[in-house]
Symmetry: C2
Subunit: 130 residues, 2 copies
DNA sequence: CTGAATCCTAAAGGATACTG
DNA sequence: CAGTATCCTTTAGGATTCAG
């Protein structure tokens, strides 16, 4: 146990299998979060904090219930997102980032900044890149 | 001045369509680079510089020719990677990052650092997360 | 050797409708 | 409110084969 200037990371590292012969942090990180909606979902949870399903669906503008549900399940399995039932009577659920999920903020904000810097909305007439 | 080998962001922003009603930099950035192998390919091009096809295939350990070829084509369409034919006789091609591609390094290295910090290779006995 | 083209299967993702 | 359940289309990706 060396220095501990950083906030406590109580859980251990996530064990993630790698495609190639030698384990690679880029390959494996990519395998965790490089799905179409994952970065956006994580971003919205970072921005708005713990959210209910429909609240999240609102914020992740453009996603369908099915895909949001699937994505959250996947993120749950990967231990990046937690799901908590906060009420049974009016059934309510809350999604939040785990410590590992929170720690993705550097990546997510790097993506956001890059997008702001390098991308733009297509103008009316030009139908460009996907 | 004004010669070909000028980096320095001469090009404008890339026009990228967004799924939701309001354009979002995270959503759109995600749509560009969040494919299984894209971050790794970009990472290897950052690390090793312009590379030939098989050199790249070596470095992107675990990828098949077909998938590498498809991925490079996709990255080419998105103007993140350039393809240059450097020899016809022994047919040789060189792939390199465009200025926009290079500028992804913050994101890619953020992913690398995160992976090193939060992920680990599965131990022998435990078959864990994908 | 170089890389590209085929074939095929497995996922991912979207539209819609419907439950407790 | 918080999802499932279907259905369906598209895409990703792996194995293999082909061509220069």
């Amino acid at each position: 146990m060396s220095n501990d200037t950083e906030p406590e990371e109580p859980v251990g590292k996530l064990e993630v299998w790698c495609a190639g012969k030698e384990w690679c942090p880029v390959t494996t990180t990519s395998s965790l979060i490089c799905k179409k909606w994952h970065p956006v979902i994580i971003h919205r949870l970072l921005e708005h904090g713990p959210s209910g399903f429909n609240e999240l669906k609102e914020n992740v503008d453009g996603i369908s219930s099915k895909v949001l549900s699937d994505s959250l399940e996947d993120l749950g399995e990967k231990q990046l997102v937690d799901r908590e039932i906060i009420s049974e009577k009016p059934f309510r659920v809350q999604y939040s980032l785990t410590p590992h999920g929170e720690s993705l903020e550097e990546i997510i904000y790097a993506m956001q900044e890059w997008g702001l810097e390098h991308l733009t909305e297509p103008s009316e007439k030009s139908s460009s890149l996907v």
